[in-house]
Point group: C2
């Protein structure tokens, strides 16, 4: 798949919140970078690491709405805009999230993703 | 300036369409990448190259509206979402543009920018 095809697939799957299906689009050596590391490193390496992040998200969050815009595509890069309204399952604390994912594609697989939160 | 400060300044200046003022935020060795090269290379190198792109834009386009969203910021990267409604001054052809800019900051200056159009 070329960059645009991978990008469209990410949008299709994240709109359905089919996170585990999206794992097929990742390279085994994916590097996944968050804005902050919640105490640890902001960087997760490898598909199993990304699977762990997905498991954490699915187990931790009640998702009230999840809006996906894009993709924006050029060369080996694409961007998707995510707006979510979620509650933490443990604390019941509800908050809105707005961030972009910046993805890099190589040989038809996502090799890097970076998440950048919207600055208020 | 850190990444967030540069990002906020880009948003402030592009909202005013103060393109030439924004040049101060660029590193001398800036690499600016468009989705397509309009016949040439999609890559422009150097601040004077970027100034040329700005001059072309200002001379070529009547801007009916220019909406700026963001910034989205993490580490050395930020993203800004642009939605424009413009007419070509020569042909009078009017079209809407939606794209993101993905910017990389080093030592307080923008060293790379990539523009990714929204895929319909």
């Amino acid at each position: 798949m070329n960059t645009e095809e991978v990008a469209r697939k990410v949008v299709e799957l994240t709109r359905k919140q089919a996170w585990h299906d999206a794992l097929d689009l990742y390279d085994d050596d994916i590097v996944s970078v968050e804005a902050s590391g919640m105490g640890g490193s902001p960087e997760t390496r490898g598909k199993e690491g990304v699977r762990g992040k997905i498991d954490w998200w699915v187990n931790s969050m009640n998702v009230h709405s999840f809006d996906v815009q894009g993709p924006f595509v050029a060369h080996d890069r694409f961007v998707v805009l995510y707006d979510a309204d979620v509650s933490d399952k443990k604390t019941n604390q509800r908050h809105k999230m707005s961030e972009v994912g910046v993805y890099t594609v190589k040989d038809g697989k996502i090799v890097r993703e970076e998440f950048l939160p919207r600055v208020a």
